[in-house]
Protein backbone atom coordinates (compact mmCIF):
# COMPACT_ATOMS: atom_id res chain seq x y z
CA UNK A 1 0.00 0.00 0.00
CA UNK A 2 1.40 3.37 -0.96
CA UNK A 3 1.25 6.38 1.31
CA UNK A 4 1.68 9.91 0.04
CA UNK A 5 3.15 12.61 2.23
CA UNK A 6 3.31 15.78 0.19
CA UNK A 7 5.13 14.66 -2.94
CA UNK A 8 6.96 11.80 -1.19
CA UNK A 9 5.65 8.29 -1.58
CA UNK A 10 6.21 5.76 1.16
CA UNK A 11 5.50 2.08 1.45
CA UNK A 12 4.00 0.68 4.63
CA UNK A 13 7.38 -0.74 5.67
CA UNK A 14 9.08 2.59 5.15
CA UNK A 15 6.47 4.32 7.27
CA UNK A 16 6.97 1.74 10.02
CA UNK A 17 10.74 2.36 9.86
CA UNK A 18 10.17 6.08 10.12
CA UNK A 19 7.91 5.69 13.15
CA UNK A 20 10.38 3.28 14.74
CA UNK A 21 13.24 5.75 14.24
CA UNK A 22 11.20 8.63 15.59
CA UNK A 23 10.51 6.67 18.77
CA UNK A 24 13.73 4.66 18.98
CA UNK A 25 14.07 3.13 22.43
CA UNK A 26 10.40 3.72 23.25
CA UNK A 27 8.44 1.69 20.71
CA UNK A 28 9.68 -1.89 20.56
CA UNK A 29 8.77 -4.89 18.40
CA UNK A 30 7.59 -2.60 15.61
CA UNK A 31 6.04 -4.65 12.81
CA UNK A 32 3.56 -4.20 9.98
CA UNK A 33 0.26 -6.03 9.89
CA UNK A 34 -1.12 -6.04 6.37
CA UNK A 35 -2.55 -4.02 4.84
CA UNK A 36 -2.25 -0.78 6.79
CA UNK A 37 -1.48 -1.26 10.49
CA UNK A 38 1.77 -0.77 12.41
CA UNK A 39 1.90 -2.83 15.60
CA UNK A 40 4.28 -1.89 18.41
CA UNK A 41 4.84 -2.43 22.12
CA UNK A 42 5.38 0.31 24.65
CA UNK A 43 6.36 0.59 28.33
CA UNK A 44 3.52 1.98 30.38
CA UNK A 45 5.77 4.58 32.05
CA UNK A 46 6.40 6.12 28.63
CA UNK A 47 2.83 6.03 27.40
CA UNK A 48 1.89 9.64 28.01
CA UNK A 49 4.86 11.36 26.47
CA UNK A 50 4.82 9.01 23.46
CA UNK A 51 1.08 9.60 23.07
CA UNK A 52 1.55 13.34 23.15
CA UNK A 53 4.27 13.21 20.50
CA UNK A 54 2.33 10.77 18.30
CA UNK A 55 -0.63 13.12 18.39
CA UNK A 56 1.51 16.11 17.40
CA UNK A 57 3.87 14.47 14.87
CA UNK A 58 4.54 16.51 11.76
CA UNK A 59 3.14 15.04 8.52
CA UNK A 60 2.25 11.62 9.92
CA UNK A 61 0.36 12.58 13.09
CA UNK A 62 -1.80 9.87 14.66
CA UNK A 63 -4.44 12.42 15.49
CA UNK A 64 -7.44 10.18 16.13
CA UNK A 65 -7.88 7.46 18.72
CA UNK A 66 -9.99 4.74 17.19
CA UNK A 67 -10.54 2.55 20.25
CA UNK A 68 -8.93 1.12 23.37
CA UNK A 69 -9.27 -2.56 24.24
CA UNK A 70 -8.26 -4.26 27.45
CA UNK A 71 -7.14 -7.88 27.23
CA UNK A 72 -6.48 -10.29 30.08
CA UNK A 73 -3.54 -12.57 29.22
CA UNK A 74 -3.69 -14.31 32.63
CA UNK A 75 -0.05 -13.47 33.41
CA UNK A 76 -0.67 -9.81 32.82
CA UNK A 77 -3.23 -7.40 31.41
CA UNK A 78 -2.83 -5.37 28.29
CA UNK A 79 -4.22 -2.02 27.24
CA UNK A 80 -4.36 -1.82 23.44
CA UNK A 81 -4.56 1.58 21.77
CA UNK A 82 -5.69 1.68 18.17
CA UNK A 83 -4.81 4.98 16.54
CA UNK A 84 -5.72 6.36 13.15
CA UNK A 85 -3.86 8.89 11.08
CA UNK A 86 -6.02 10.97 8.77
CA UNK A 87 -2.89 12.29 7.04
CA UNK A 88 -1.54 8.90 5.95
CA UNK A 89 -4.71 6.77 6.23
CA UNK A 90 -2.88 4.20 8.35
CA UNK A 91 -3.40 2.68 11.77
CA UNK A 92 -1.05 2.23 14.70
CA UNK A 93 -1.73 -0.38 17.35
CA UNK A 94 0.08 0.16 20.64
CA UNK A 95 0.26 -2.65 23.19
CA UNK A 96 0.93 -1.54 26.75
CA UNK A 97 1.53 -4.24 29.34
CA UNK A 98 -0.19 -3.70 32.69
CA UNK A 99 0.71 -5.92 35.66
CA UNK A 100 -2.20 -7.62 37.41
CA UNK A 101 -0.94 -6.66 40.85
CA UNK A 102 -1.13 -2.95 40.15
CA UNK A 103 -3.51 -2.62 37.22
CA UNK A 104 -3.09 1.04 36.51
CA UNK A 105 -1.94 3.10 33.57
CA UNK A 106 -2.01 6.82 32.94
CA UNK A 107 -4.93 8.32 31.06
CA UNK A 108 -4.66 9.72 27.55
CA UNK A 109 -8.12 11.27 27.44
CA UNK A 110 -6.73 14.82 27.53
CA UNK A 111 -4.65 14.01 24.43
CA UNK A 112 -7.38 12.18 22.50
CA UNK A 113 -10.84 13.15 23.83
CA UNK A 114 -12.22 9.92 22.33
CA UNK A 115 -10.32 7.93 24.96
CA UNK A 116 -12.68 9.00 27.72
CA UNK A 117 -15.37 6.33 27.42
CA UNK A 118 -13.01 3.61 26.27
CA UNK A 119 -11.03 4.02 29.46
CA UNK A 120 -14.19 3.93 31.52
CA UNK A 121 -15.22 0.75 29.72
CA UNK A 122 -11.85 -0.89 30.28
CA UNK A 123 -12.05 0.06 33.96
CA UNK A 124 -15.61 -1.23 34.21
CA UNK A 125 -15.12 -4.59 32.52
CA UNK A 126 -11.41 -5.31 32.99
CA UNK A 127 -10.47 -3.31 36.07
CA UNK A 128 -7.62 -1.27 34.66
CA UNK A 129 -7.44 2.01 36.52
CA UNK A 130 -6.64 4.95 34.24
CA UNK A 131 -4.89 7.41 36.51
CA UNK A 132 -5.74 11.05 35.97
CA UNK A 133 -9.05 10.30 34.24
CA UNK A 134 -11.48 13.04 35.29
CA UNK A 135 -14.52 10.81 35.74
CA UNK A 136 -13.59 7.13 36.02
CA UNK A 137 -17.04 5.70 36.75
CA UNK A 138 -18.50 2.42 35.59
CA UNK A 139 -20.15 2.80 32.21
CA UNK A 140 -21.91 -0.37 31.08
CA UNK A 141 -22.54 -2.09 34.40
CA UNK A 142 -24.45 -0.67 37.33
CA UNK A 143 -22.74 1.76 39.66
CA UNK A 144 -22.71 -0.74 42.53
CA UNK A 145 -21.41 -3.77 40.63
CA UNK A 146 -18.61 -5.65 42.31
CA UNK A 147 -15.72 -7.03 40.26
CA UNK A 148 -14.67 -6.79 36.63
CA UNK A 149 -16.39 -9.46 34.50
CA UNK A 150 -14.01 -9.69 31.55
CA UNK A 151 -11.15 -10.80 33.81
CA UNK A 152 -10.45 -14.46 33.23
CA UNK A 153 -10.58 -15.17 36.97
CA UNK A 154 -13.90 -13.39 37.54
CA UNK A 155 -16.47 -15.30 39.59
CA UNK A 156 -20.01 -13.97 39.63
CA UNK A 157 -21.62 -14.13 43.05
CA UNK A 158 -25.32 -13.36 43.52
CA UNK A 159 -24.74 -11.64 46.87
CA UNK A 160 -22.64 -9.05 45.09
CA UNK A 161 -25.72 -7.63 43.43
CA UNK A 162 -28.29 -6.53 46.00
CA UNK A 163 -30.47 -4.62 43.52
CA UNK A 164 -30.95 -7.24 40.82
Amino acid sequence: MGIEIGSVKLSMDELATRVAQEFAGELTNVSVQEPDTIVARLERSELRQVARRLHDLAEIAYDSLNWIAAVDYRTHLESVYHLYSYATNTYLELHVEVPRAKAAVETVCDIWPAADWHEREAWDLMGIRYEGHPDLRRILLKDDWIGHPLRKDYVDLAENHPHV
Partner: protein
Protein backbone atom coordinates in the same frame (compact mmCIF):
# COMPACT_ATOMS: atom_id res chain seq x y z
CA UNK B 1 -45.67 3.83 52.68
CA UNK B 2 -43.08 2.94 55.25
CA UNK B 3 -39.41 3.53 54.75
CA UNK B 4 -38.54 -0.12 54.24
CA UNK B 5 -39.93 -0.02 50.69
CA UNK B 6 -37.61 2.79 49.71
CA UNK B 7 -34.54 1.44 47.96
CA UNK B 8 -31.36 3.39 47.72
CA UNK B 9 -29.97 2.34 44.38
CA UNK B 10 -26.88 4.44 43.81
CA UNK B 11 -27.09 6.83 40.89
CA UNK B 12 -23.69 8.28 40.15
CA UNK B 13 -24.80 10.26 37.09
CA UNK B 14 -27.50 12.14 38.99
CA UNK B 15 -25.11 12.92 41.83
CA UNK B 16 -22.56 14.14 39.30
CA UNK B 17 -25.12 16.47 37.67
CA UNK B 18 -26.07 17.92 41.03
CA UNK B 19 -22.49 18.35 42.15
CA UNK B 20 -21.60 20.14 38.94
CA UNK B 21 -24.40 22.62 39.54
CA UNK B 22 -23.34 23.05 43.15
CA UNK B 23 -19.72 23.72 42.22
CA UNK B 24 -20.65 26.24 39.52
CA UNK B 25 -22.87 28.28 41.81
CA UNK B 26 -21.41 31.30 43.51
CA UNK B 27 -22.14 31.05 47.24
CA UNK B 28 -25.48 32.48 48.23
CA UNK B 29 -26.32 33.92 44.85
CA UNK B 30 -29.78 32.75 43.76
CA UNK B 31 -29.33 29.36 45.35
CA UNK B 32 -31.27 27.37 47.89
CA UNK B 33 -29.89 25.78 51.01
CA UNK B 34 -28.33 22.82 49.23
CA UNK B 35 -26.53 25.17 46.88
CA UNK B 36 -28.78 24.40 43.90
CA UNK B 37 -29.60 27.35 41.71
CA UNK B 38 -33.28 28.01 41.81
CA UNK B 39 -33.56 28.48 38.05
CA UNK B 40 -31.78 25.25 37.12
CA UNK B 41 -33.57 21.96 36.90
CA UNK B 42 -32.16 18.47 36.46
CA UNK B 43 -34.34 16.44 34.12
CA UNK B 44 -34.07 12.74 33.49
CA UNK B 45 -34.64 12.07 29.78
CA UNK B 46 -35.06 8.38 29.36
CA UNK B 47 -34.34 5.53 29.55
CA UNK B 48 -37.94 5.16 28.42
CA UNK B 49 -38.27 8.45 26.59
CA UNK B 50 -39.49 7.91 22.99
CA UNK B 51 -36.98 10.29 21.46
CA UNK B 52 -34.05 8.27 22.77
CA UNK B 53 -34.71 5.44 20.28
CA UNK B 54 -34.10 2.75 22.81
CA UNK B 55 -32.89 2.90 26.33
CA UNK B 56 -30.55 5.85 26.38
CA UNK B 57 -30.78 7.99 29.46
CA UNK B 58 -29.67 11.61 29.43
CA UNK B 59 -29.38 13.48 32.72
CA UNK B 60 -29.99 16.99 31.44
CA UNK B 61 -29.43 20.18 33.42
CA UNK B 62 -31.78 22.87 32.16
CA UNK B 63 -31.74 26.58 32.68
CA UNK B 64 -35.23 27.44 31.56
CA UNK B 65 -35.38 25.96 28.09
CA UNK B 66 -31.63 25.94 27.54
CA UNK B 67 -29.55 22.81 27.98
CA UNK B 68 -26.58 23.58 30.20
CA UNK B 69 -25.15 20.15 30.81
CA UNK B 70 -25.76 16.60 29.59
CA UNK B 71 -24.59 13.37 31.17
CA UNK B 72 -25.37 10.31 29.03
CA UNK B 73 -26.02 7.13 31.00
CA UNK B 74 -25.82 3.87 29.08
CA UNK B 75 -25.75 0.18 29.85
CA UNK B 76 -29.48 -0.53 30.11
CA UNK B 77 -29.23 -2.94 27.18
CA UNK B 78 -25.89 -4.47 28.17
CA UNK B 79 -26.01 -8.18 27.37
CA UNK B 80 -22.33 -9.06 27.80
CA UNK B 81 -21.82 -9.84 24.12
CA UNK B 82 -18.05 -9.66 24.51
CA UNK B 83 -18.06 -12.10 27.41
CA UNK B 84 -20.45 -14.41 25.53
CA UNK B 85 -17.85 -14.80 22.79
CA UNK B 86 -15.41 -16.41 25.20
CA UNK B 87 -17.85 -19.22 25.95
CA UNK B 88 -18.86 -20.02 22.39
CA UNK B 89 -17.06 -21.43 19.40
CA UNK B 90 -16.42 -19.09 16.51
CA UNK B 91 -19.28 -20.68 14.59
CA UNK B 92 -21.77 -20.55 17.45
CA UNK B 93 -21.15 -16.85 17.89
CA UNK B 94 -22.28 -15.79 14.39
CA UNK B 95 -25.88 -14.88 15.42
CA UNK B 96 -24.75 -12.58 18.24
CA UNK B 97 -23.36 -9.62 16.21
CA UNK B 98 -26.84 -9.30 14.63
CA UNK B 99 -28.01 -8.16 18.01
CA UNK B 100 -25.54 -5.33 18.42
CA UNK B 101 -26.83 -2.91 15.82
CA UNK B 102 -30.06 -4.70 15.26
CA UNK B 103 -31.29 -2.52 12.40
CA UNK B 104 -28.19 -3.39 10.34
CA UNK B 105 -27.67 -7.04 11.19
CA UNK B 106 -26.15 -8.02 7.86
CA UNK B 107 -23.40 -5.42 8.22
CA UNK B 108 -22.60 -6.39 11.79
CA UNK B 109 -22.41 -10.10 10.96
CA UNK B 110 -20.12 -9.27 8.10
CA UNK B 111 -17.81 -7.35 10.41
CA UNK B 112 -17.43 -10.37 12.68
CA UNK B 113 -17.17 -12.98 9.94
CA UNK B 114 -14.62 -10.90 8.04
CA UNK B 115 -12.38 -10.68 11.11
CA UNK B 116 -12.47 -14.43 11.72
CA UNK B 117 -11.78 -15.07 8.05
CA UNK B 118 -8.73 -12.86 8.21
CA UNK B 119 -7.60 -14.54 11.41
CA UNK B 120 -8.03 -18.05 9.98
CA UNK B 121 -6.97 -17.24 6.43
CA UNK B 122 -10.27 -18.19 4.77
CA UNK B 123 -11.23 -16.57 1.47
CA UNK B 124 -14.91 -16.52 0.55
CA UNK B 125 -16.00 -17.41 -2.96
CA UNK B 126 -16.53 -14.69 -5.50
CA UNK B 127 -20.29 -15.20 -5.69
CA UNK B 128 -20.54 -15.05 -1.91
CA UNK B 129 -18.59 -11.78 -1.86
CA UNK B 130 -20.99 -10.15 -4.30
CA UNK B 131 -24.03 -11.48 -2.43
CA UNK B 132 -22.57 -10.07 0.79
CA UNK B 133 -22.26 -6.62 -0.74
CA UNK B 134 -25.84 -6.78 -2.02
CA UNK B 135 -27.18 -7.80 1.39
CA UNK B 136 -25.10 -5.21 3.24
CA UNK B 137 -26.18 -2.40 0.94
CA UNK B 138 -29.84 -3.42 1.08
CA UNK B 139 -29.53 -3.40 4.83
CA UNK B 140 -27.85 0.00 4.68
CA UNK B 141 -30.88 1.41 2.86
CA UNK B 142 -33.23 -0.20 5.38
CA UNK B 143 -31.18 1.17 8.24
CA UNK B 144 -31.08 4.70 6.83
CA UNK B 145 -34.84 4.55 6.34
CA UNK B 146 -35.25 3.83 10.04
CA UNK B 147 -32.74 6.54 10.92
CA UNK B 148 -34.33 9.28 8.82
CA UNK B 149 -37.88 8.15 9.59
CA UNK B 150 -37.54 8.26 13.34
CA UNK B 151 -35.54 11.45 13.13
CA UNK B 152 -38.35 13.25 11.30
CA UNK B 153 -40.80 11.95 13.88
CA UNK B 154 -38.65 13.58 16.58
CA UNK B 155 -38.96 16.90 14.77
CA UNK B 156 -42.75 16.93 15.03
CA UNK B 157 -43.82 19.11 12.06
CA UNK B 158 -44.68 16.03 10.02
CA UNK B 159 -45.91 13.99 12.91
CA UNK B 160 -45.33 10.37 12.19
CA UNK B 161 -46.25 10.56 8.49
CA UNK B 162 -42.70 10.11 7.25
CA UNK B 163 -42.04 7.16 9.54
CA UNK B 164 -44.92 5.26 8.01
CA UNK B 165 -43.84 6.03 4.46
CA UNK B 166 -40.34 4.87 5.23
CA UNK B 167 -41.28 1.80 7.22
CA UNK B 168 -43.68 0.82 4.45
CA UNK B 169 -40.83 0.83 1.93
CA UNK B 170 -38.37 -0.71 4.36
CA UNK B 171 -40.72 -3.66 4.64
CA UNK B 172 -40.01 -4.48 1.00
CA UNK B 173 -36.31 -4.71 1.78
CA UNK B 174 -36.94 -6.86 4.82
CA UNK B 175 -39.02 -9.17 2.62
CA UNK B 176 -36.06 -9.50 0.27
CA UNK B 177 -33.67 -10.20 3.12
CA UNK B 178 -36.11 -12.65 4.64
CA UNK B 179 -36.53 -14.63 1.45
CA UNK B 180 -32.74 -14.93 1.18
CA UNK B 181 -31.84 -15.61 4.80
CA UNK B 182 -35.04 -16.77 6.50
CA UNK B 183 -35.31 -13.94 9.00
CA UNK B 184 -36.40 -10.31 8.95
CA UNK B 185 -33.78 -8.82 11.21
CA UNK B 186 -31.73 -11.45 13.04
CA UNK B 187 -30.36 -12.99 9.87
CA UNK B 188 -27.64 -15.47 10.88
CA UNK B 189 -26.79 -15.56 7.19
CA UNK B 190 -23.04 -15.15 6.91
CA UNK B 191 -20.70 -18.12 7.19
CA UNK B 192 -16.93 -18.35 7.24
CA UNK B 193 -16.01 -18.54 3.57
CA UNK B 194 -19.44 -17.69 2.20
CA UNK B 195 -23.09 -17.30 3.04
CA UNK B 196 -25.62 -19.84 4.33
CA UNK B 197 -27.97 -20.06 1.34
CA UNK B 198 -27.75 -19.20 -2.30
CA UNK B 199 -30.27 -16.65 -3.57
CA UNK B 200 -33.69 -18.26 -4.11
CA UNK B 201 -35.23 -18.44 -7.58
CA UNK B 202 -36.56 -15.13 -8.80
CA UNK B 203 -34.80 -13.16 -6.06
CA UNK B 204 -32.71 -11.09 -8.45
CA UNK B 205 -35.81 -10.05 -10.39
CA UNK B 206 -37.64 -9.10 -7.20
CA UNK B 207 -34.66 -7.09 -6.07
CA UNK B 208 -34.48 -5.26 -9.40
CA UNK B 209 -38.17 -4.53 -9.19
CA UNK B 210 -37.69 -2.89 -5.80
CA UNK B 211 -34.68 -0.90 -6.98
CA UNK B 212 -36.55 0.33 -10.04
CA UNK B 213 -39.24 1.82 -7.85
CA UNK B 214 -36.83 3.15 -5.25
CA UNK B 215 -35.93 6.55 -6.82
CA UNK B 216 -39.61 7.46 -6.82
CA UNK B 217 -39.85 6.63 -3.13
CA UNK B 218 -36.82 8.81 -2.32
CA UNK B 219 -38.35 11.61 -4.36
CA UNK B 220 -41.45 11.30 -2.23
CA UNK B 221 -39.46 11.57 1.00
CA UNK B 222 -37.57 14.58 -0.25
CA UNK B 223 -40.67 16.39 -1.42
CA UNK B 224 -42.29 15.72 1.95
CA UNK B 225 -39.61 17.28 4.11
CA UNK B 226 -37.32 19.49 2.09
CA UNK B 227 -40.02 21.99 1.21
CA UNK B 228 -41.28 22.12 4.77
CA UNK B 229 -40.28 25.44 6.31
CA UNK B 230 -40.54 24.18 9.88
CA UNK B 231 -38.36 21.19 9.08
CA UNK B 232 -35.71 23.40 7.53
CA UNK B 233 -35.75 25.90 10.37
CA UNK B 234 -35.26 23.16 12.90
CA UNK B 235 -32.39 21.57 10.96
CA UNK B 236 -30.29 24.25 9.35
CA UNK B 237 -27.31 25.35 11.40
CA UNK B 238 -28.25 23.25 14.43
CA UNK B 239 -25.87 20.88 16.22
CA UNK B 240 -22.79 21.62 14.15
CA UNK B 241 -19.94 19.08 14.38
CA UNK B 242 -16.69 20.63 13.16
CA UNK B 243 -14.03 18.67 11.30
CA UNK B 244 -11.78 18.99 14.33
CA UNK B 245 -14.49 17.36 16.46
CA UNK B 246 -14.67 14.51 13.99
CA UNK B 247 -10.95 13.87 14.42
CA UNK B 248 -10.88 14.39 18.18
CA UNK B 249 -13.88 12.21 18.95
CA UNK B 250 -13.18 9.63 16.20
CA UNK B 251 -16.63 10.14 14.72
CA UNK B 252 -17.22 8.01 11.63
CA UNK B 253 -19.94 7.23 9.14
CA UNK B 254 -22.56 9.64 7.81
CA UNK B 255 -22.07 11.87 10.87
CA UNK B 256 -18.43 12.44 9.86
CA UNK B 257 -19.17 12.76 6.16
CA UNK B 258 -21.83 15.39 6.89
CA UNK B 259 -19.00 17.51 8.26
CA UNK B 260 -17.12 17.12 5.00
CA UNK B 261 -14.62 14.49 6.17
CA UNK B 262 -14.15 12.08 3.27
CA UNK B 263 -13.73 8.99 5.39
CA UNK B 264 -15.50 5.83 4.28
CA UNK B 265 -13.97 2.43 4.88
CA UNK B 266 -15.36 1.23 1.58
CA UNK B 267 -12.89 3.68 0.04
CA UNK B 268 -10.16 4.28 2.62
CA UNK B 269 -9.72 0.65 3.67
CA UNK B 270 -11.43 -1.22 0.85
CA UNK B 271 -12.63 -4.73 1.44
CA UNK B 272 -14.54 -7.37 -0.52
CA UNK B 273 -15.41 -6.25 -4.08
CA UNK B 274 -15.82 -2.55 -3.25
CA UNK B 275 -12.68 -1.52 -5.20
CA UNK B 276 -14.42 -2.69 -8.40
CA UNK B 277 -17.58 -0.73 -7.75
CA UNK B 278 -18.31 2.79 -8.86
CA UNK B 279 -19.95 5.00 -6.24
CA UNK B 280 -19.61 8.50 -4.84
CA UNK B 281 -18.93 9.59 -1.29
CA UNK B 282 -21.72 11.86 -0.11
CA UNK B 283 -20.24 14.77 1.76
CA UNK B 284 -21.92 17.60 3.62
CA UNK B 285 -20.48 21.08 4.05
CA UNK B 286 -21.65 22.38 7.39
CA UNK B 287 -21.96 19.33 9.60
CA UNK B 288 -25.34 20.42 10.92
CA UNK B 289 -28.52 18.43 11.44
CA UNK B 290 -29.69 19.07 7.90
CA UNK B 291 -26.45 17.77 6.37
CA UNK B 292 -26.65 14.60 8.42
CA UNK B 293 -30.17 14.06 7.12
CA UNK B 294 -29.17 14.82 3.54
CA UNK B 295 -26.07 12.61 3.57
CA UNK B 296 -28.21 9.63 4.54
CA UNK B 297 -30.69 10.33 1.75
CA UNK B 298 -27.87 10.58 -0.80
CA UNK B 299 -26.20 7.43 0.54
CA UNK B 300 -29.36 5.46 -0.07
CA UNK B 301 -29.17 6.48 -3.73
CA UNK B 302 -25.52 5.39 -3.87
CA UNK B 303 -26.36 2.07 -2.23
CA UNK B 304 -28.97 1.50 -4.90
CA UNK B 305 -26.34 2.13 -7.57
CA UNK B 306 -23.96 -0.33 -5.87
CA UNK B 307 -26.58 -3.07 -5.69
CA UNK B 308 -27.46 -2.61 -9.37
CA UNK B 309 -23.79 -3.02 -10.32
CA UNK B 310 -23.54 -6.11 -8.13
CA UNK B 311 -26.63 -7.67 -9.68
CA UNK B 312 -25.07 -7.10 -13.10
CA UNK B 313 -21.77 -8.71 -12.15
CA UNK B 314 -23.20 -11.51 -9.98
CA UNK B 315 -21.08 -14.50 -11.02
CA UNK B 316 -22.19 -18.11 -11.08
CA UNK B 317 -20.65 -20.61 -8.73
CA UNK B 318 -20.80 -21.88 -5.16
CA UNK B 319 -21.69 -19.57 -2.26
CA UNK B 320 -19.57 -21.51 0.21
CA UNK B 321 -15.90 -22.28 -0.04
CA UNK B 322 -14.86 -25.93 0.22
CA UNK B 323 -17.70 -28.37 0.81
CA UNK B 324 -21.35 -27.37 0.73
CA UNK B 325 -21.46 -27.17 4.49
CA UNK B 326 -19.78 -24.27 6.24
CA UNK B 327 -16.82 -25.07 8.54
CA UNK B 328 -18.41 -25.71 11.93
CA UNK B 329 -15.18 -25.92 13.88
CA UNK B 330 -12.33 -23.63 13.09
CA UNK B 331 -9.19 -23.10 15.10
CA UNK B 332 -7.40 -19.95 13.92
CA UNK B 333 -3.70 -19.68 14.77
CA UNK B 334 -2.82 -17.61 17.85
CA UNK B 335 -2.75 -13.90 17.21
CA UNK B 336 -4.85 -10.79 17.20
CA UNK B 337 -6.63 -9.14 14.29
CA UNK B 338 -8.75 -6.05 13.89
CA UNK B 339 -10.87 -5.48 10.81
CA UNK B 340 -13.67 -3.07 10.23
CA UNK B 341 -16.39 -2.48 7.71
CA UNK B 342 -18.48 0.55 6.90
CA UNK B 343 -21.67 0.09 8.84
CA UNK B 344 -24.62 2.46 8.19
CA UNK B 345 -23.49 4.31 11.33
CA UNK B 346 -19.75 4.29 10.79
CA UNK B 347 -16.75 2.11 11.42
CA UNK B 348 -17.94 -1.17 12.90
CA UNK B 349 -14.86 -3.09 13.88
CA UNK B 350 -14.11 -6.31 15.65
CA UNK B 351 -10.87 -7.05 17.45
CA UNK B 352 -10.35 -10.74 18.13
CA UNK B 353 -7.54 -12.30 20.11
CA UNK B 354 -7.08 -15.99 19.39
CA UNK B 355 -5.16 -18.43 21.55
CA UNK B 356 -5.37 -21.20 18.97
CA UNK B 357 -8.42 -22.86 20.50
CA UNK B 358 -11.96 -23.22 19.14
CA UNK B 359 -13.15 -20.25 21.19
CA UNK B 360 -12.25 -16.57 20.77
CA UNK B 361 -9.93 -15.67 23.64
CA UNK B 362 -11.13 -12.08 23.65
CA UNK B 363 -13.50 -10.23 21.39
CA UNK B 364 -13.92 -6.48 21.40
CA UNK B 365 -16.33 -4.40 19.35
CA UNK B 366 -15.55 -0.98 18.06
CA UNK B 367 -19.09 0.26 17.86
CA UNK B 368 -19.66 3.51 15.94
CA UNK B 369 -22.64 4.63 18.04
CA UNK B 370 -20.78 4.19 21.32
CA UNK B 371 -18.11 6.51 20.02
CA UNK B 372 -20.46 8.97 18.29
CA UNK B 373 -22.40 9.32 21.54
CA UNK B 374 -19.36 10.64 23.38
CA UNK B 375 -19.66 14.07 21.82
CA UNK B 376 -23.21 14.58 23.19
CA UNK B 377 -22.34 16.72 26.23
CA UNK B 378 -20.43 19.11 23.98
CA UNK B 379 -22.94 18.96 21.13
CA UNK B 380 -26.15 19.44 23.08
CA UNK B 381 -25.03 22.05 25.62
CA UNK B 382 -26.17 25.53 24.71
CA UNK B 383 -29.12 24.37 22.63
CA UNK B 384 -32.80 24.46 23.48
CA UNK B 385 -34.15 21.20 24.82
CA UNK B 386 -36.37 20.68 21.75
CA UNK B 387 -33.33 21.11 19.50
CA UNK B 388 -31.40 18.68 21.64
CA UNK B 389 -33.98 16.06 20.73
CA UNK B 390 -33.60 16.91 17.05
CA UNK B 391 -29.82 16.74 17.24
CA UNK B 392 -29.75 13.41 19.05
CA UNK B 393 -32.21 12.07 16.47
CA UNK B 394 -29.91 13.18 13.66
CA UNK B 395 -26.98 11.26 15.19
CA UNK B 396 -28.81 7.96 14.58
CA UNK B 397 -27.99 5.97 17.70
CA UNK B 398 -28.74 2.29 18.15
CA UNK B 399 -28.53 1.26 21.76
CA UNK B 400 -27.97 -2.41 21.06
CA UNK B 401 -24.58 -1.47 19.70
CA UNK B 402 -23.75 1.11 22.33
CA UNK B 403 -24.43 -1.20 25.26
CA UNK B 404 -23.32 -4.44 23.58
Amino acid sequence: MSDEFVTTVPDAALELALSRIASSTAAGEGSDMQGLRLDEVVVNMGPQHPSTHGVLRLVVTLDGEMVKDVIPVIGYLHRCKEKLAEKRTYYQYIPIPDRTEYVAGMNCEWGYVMTVEKLAGIRPTRRAEVIRVIMAELNRIASHLVAVGTFTADLAPLGTAMVFYMFRDREQILDLLESASGARMMFNYFRFGGVRYDLPDGWVEKCREFLDGFPKMVQEYESLVETNAIFLQRCLGKGVISQQDVVDYAITGPNARASGVAHDLRRTRPYSVYPELDFDLCLGQHGDVYDRYKVRIEEMKQSRAIILQCLDMLPKGPVQVGSLKPPYVITPPPGAVYTAQENPRGEYGTYIVSDGSRYPYRLKYRDPCFINLQIFPKLLSGNKIADAVAISGSMDLVLGGIDR
